[in-house]
Every structure is written in C-alpha cells, then in structure tokens.
C-alpha cells in the first residue's frame, strides 16, 4: 500500500515532537536572545539579520536530527515498523524542524521589515523555505549515500561534499549582503530571478522535492540501516 501517512508514522513523528519539545523551547529562547543581540548589527547598516538564525538552524539539524536519522532508525528496524514507514517518519520529523525555523525566521523578518511585507518578508521567507527543504533532503541523502554499497569510499566523500557545497552556496546566496558582495551585476539579476520571482521560487521548491524523493528512494535501497 502506497500510503504517505499511517498510524505508525504518526506514532514515530509524535515521539520525535514530544522528545524534542523542551529542546525546541530552549532553542526558541536562544534565538530570541540572538535576535536582540544581532539586532545591533542591523541598526549599524547590516540589513539582513538572518545569519544567526541560519547558523542556529544548521546547529539544530546536526544536534537533533543526527541521532534520529541514524541511531533511532536502527532502533525502529528492530520493531515491527516497515522500512517505508521509518523512511517517511524520518523525512516528516525533520520537516518539523523546518517549520520551527520558518516561524522563528518569520518573526525576525516581520520585526525588521514591517514596511515591506511583500517585498522583503515574503520572498526571503520563501527562499529560506526552499533552502531548508533542500538542506533537509540533503541531510537525509548524505546518510543514505554513505550507506550505498556501489559507490567507492573515495567517491562517497566527494559526492557528499559536492552536494553540500551546492546546498550551502544556495543558502548563502539567499543571504543578500553576501551575494551582493560576491557577485557582479548580471549574476545578481539571476539571483533576483531565483529568489524574488514566482518561477525562481517554484524551481527551488521543485529541486527540494526532487532531492527529497531521491533521498527516500536511496533510503529504501540501503543495504544496511545500522
């Protein structure tokens, strides 16, 4: 049965939500603090205060999703849970971190750009959304690529590094100050298309969805879940 949701998946995702509730609360407080801390930078002319949030999101992924992605996947394999359900539960649970990050980032953006909701807030939020979805899939895919038997141990680090370079470049380019500093005018036009046009945002989301499907497929073909 090709169900995308089931009682088993819900039990797994609910456990993840409940398990990390306290840590999420701590993270929210920390981010709020950093929001005020880095607010000083914004006041001095640094327009985009999103860097600490992106950093926090990256740390959050590594701290909280790694044990789930790997150790607890093994735990689940012993229980009567299908590989398919555990793969979907992993994707969904990590997507919860993405929702949390979006909420926090939205609050920050609304505070800094209250005068330009559609121009700055909406596009930045959508760009971040695409970035997080892509990073989420890339995160899952890294573990799955690592476990595939057909790639050589020399090729795997290269492949995973390449993927992360692309993902992080995409993330850093959405950070406006950085991209303006790095890229000439023509490329900034491309960025404007990518980050501030409906088609560009759509393309980014399709990339994220494509990577997510790839991650799921790889997970289902893994030789080992340990």
């Amino acid at each position: 049965m090709n169900k995308l949701w089931s009682a088993t998946i819900w039990r797994l995702v609910r456990a993840e939500m409940s398990y990390n509730l306290f840590m999420h609360a701590i993270l929210f407080i920390t981010l709020t603090f950093s929001f005020y801390l880095f607010g000083g930078l914004a006041a001095r002319g640094v327009r985009d205060p999103s860097l600490p949030h992106l950093l926090a999101v990256a740390i959050m992924y590594f701290l909280y999703t790694t044990p789930f992605a790997e150790k607890r996947t093994r735990f689940m394999q012993i229980m009567p849970i299908s590989q398919r359900d555990s793969a979907l539960a992993r994707l969904y649970s990590q997507a919860l971190y993405w929702i949390g990050a979006l909420v926090i980032y939205a609050v920050s953006l609304l505070a800094y750009f209250p005068q330009d909701m559609l121009g700055d807030v909406l596009w930045r939020l959508l760009a971040l959304n695409a970035f997080l979805l892509t990073a989420n899939a890339a995160f899952c895919l890294s573990f799955d690529l690592w476990a595939v038997p057909f790639a050589s141990p020399f090729f795997k680090p290269f492949l995973v590094s390449l993927m992360w370079m692309l993902v992080l470049t995409m993330g850093s380019l959405s950070y406006e100050g950085y991209s303006t500093y790095l890229l000439p005018g023509a490329d900034r036009l491309f960025l404007s298309f990518l980050y501030k046009s409906p088609l560009g945002i759509l393309l980014q989301h399709l990339t994220a969805i494509g990577l997510s499907i790839l991650s799921y497929k790889f997970h289902m073909r893994r030789q080992t879940l340990t």
């Binding site: 039990r11 093994r74 012993i78 229980m79 030789q223 080992t224 879940l225 340990t226």
Partner: protein, 289 residues
C-alpha cells in the same frame, strides 16, 4: 508448525569477508547457541535475520513468513537484543517501554513491570543515566514483554564487566527457563550459553562448521592418556601430545579411539570427560588450522 526461523543459502559479502552460503534452521522451543570467534559472521547472520542488513542472496523465514522489510508483521513474533542499545536518551526507561509497547499487539505492561522488578531495573531513571548493565536489562525487558516466540540474542552482555554480566545472565536464564520459546543466542563466550543451550552451532570465517546437540558433544568427546612406545595414527583424534612413552589425545569419539588403542596394545589407558568450553575451543581451533 513451521520452524522458528529457516535460513536458506544466505550469502552476505563485505570487503574481505563472506558469510555463507549458510543454511540454518531452528525448530520451535529449541535453544541454539551460535558459537564463533569475533569476526566469524555471527552478528552478520543476526542482522540479516532481523532485517537490519540486506542479504546479498538467500531466503530467510520467521515462523514461515519472509523477513520482508515492508511487511513487518513477522517481527511481532521476535524479540531481539544486540550489542547496541539505542533509546530515546532523555526519556525514562518506563517511557521508552511505553513508546515501544505501541507497536506490539501482544505487549503486556504487567509482564514488563515484572521483568523490570526481576532485573532490578530502575524504571524511573532516564536512559542516558542508566549504567551499561541497566541498558542491557532495559533492552531485554523491551525484547521480552511482548512474549516473543523467538528470541534473538546477539552477544547481549558484550561490554559488561564479569560481575554485572553474571548477574544479568543469571536473571535472564531464570526468566528464559520459565518459557517455551525458541532462542538463538550468539556469543564467543560459550559459558554464557552452555547452561541454557539444547544445541550448538559453530561458525568460523563465515562458514558453519557443524551443529549438534550439546549432550552429544559432551558424551562423545574425551581426553585419553595412555602409554605406548610408538606414535600411532589414531581414529577420531583432533590433538595428540607425546612426552616420552606417555601420550595424550583428544578424541571427538572416544569410544572409537579407545577400541583402536586397545587393538594397538596401549597400556595405562585413562579417559576423562571434557567440558563443553574445551570441546568448543578444539572445534574452532580446528577450523583456524
């Protein structure tokens, strides 16, 4: 009733190691000790059987059902404890058990509580605060509380100090002696399982060396000392030591060897029984030579 498990032509390759082709089955209610040195393929067999690792070739059935990764109903009948004990670390032992219980229709909270009491497991402690011994106990309680018909134990006491290991095994064996279930227990420490096992299977370098009833081994293997001028080629002998006229052999069928010695005119023949540990060492050493 189908076998508790049936492994047919299992092959799993890793760089520099190949398990199989392996054929092994376990009838219901039998305790099979799976004995082999480190790196012989015991854990790989367990992982293939439990679906933690995908086999390259072969078929595995649990109570007649294929161990399919996306049709997990076969897991209702098994309890598994491996060398790694992974839990939600910030949850208490009790909450971890509650989480696991959701996935087993046969789970009994009463049994879980009883087992925790017998193991003296502190249920209110968080998993990350549990000692290694208590983590093993928690894994055992989790594996037993849905009354599985097949228990797969893969060196569950690995990493424990001798005192805690003895305590865990003592309680585990008391619990297991009560029930009628098939048990597949892999270890390289034979004394861990010799008390409980009905049969023993020996594995070395990914190959099954043999399998027999534990009592048959102790009944047939023996150490014989005798006095004889020459060194003879004796039947069924796996080890032969000579010190002057005194000789000592280890025989896998001492009845045959004794008769042969009498025919050859050996003097001062004395026979002593061997422990199951001594026999296992000889079997596995033979595979290494």
């Amino acid at each position: 009733m189908p076998n508790a498990f049936q492994i047919t032509q299992l092959v799993k390759k890793y760089p520099g190691f190949m398990l199989g082709p392996l054929n092994l089955s376990l009838p219901p209610g039998i305790v099979l000790g799976y004995i082999g040195p480190n790196g012989s393929g015991k854990t790989t067999t367990m992982h293939c059987l439990t679906g933690l690792v995908k086999a390259d070739k072969g078929e595995m059935k649990i109570f007649g059902r294929e161990n399919h990764p996306n049709r997990p109903a076969w897991k209702f009948d098994i309890g598994y404890v491996g060398d790694a004990h992974v839990f939600y670390e910030r949850w208490t032992a009790e909450k971890n058990l509650k989480f696991i219980s959701q996935f087993y229709p046969n789970w009994s909270d009463k049994l879980a509580k009883e087992l925790a009491d017998r193991f003296r497991l502190p249920l209110t402690k968080k998993a990350r605060e549990l000692s290694t011994g208590n983590r093993v106990k928690l894994s055992l309680v989790a594996a037993l509380s849905h009354t599985p018909k097949l228990l797969l134990l893969d060196e569950p006491t690995a990493g424990l100090d001798p005192v805690v290991r003895a305590e865990v095994l003592d309680t585990l064996f008391q619990v297991l002696e009560d029930g009628e279930r098939a048990i597949f227990y892999s270890t390289h420490i034979l004394s861990d399982i010799s008390r409980l096992a009905d049969e023993l299977a020996f594995l070395a370098n990914g190959q099954l060396l043999g399998r027999c009833a534990k009592d048959d081994l102790t009944d047939s293997w023996g150490r014989i000392t005798f006095r004889m001028r020459d060194k003879a080629q004796l039947q069924q002998v796996v080890e032969h030591k000579i010190e002057g006229l005194d000789q000592q052999v280890v025989s896998r069928d001492y009845g045959v060897t004794l008769n042969h010695l009498k025919e050859l005119g050996a003097e001062n023949i004395q026979m002593s029984r061997m422990t199951i540990e001594e026999i296992a060492v000889h079997i596995l050493r033979g595979a290494g030579q």
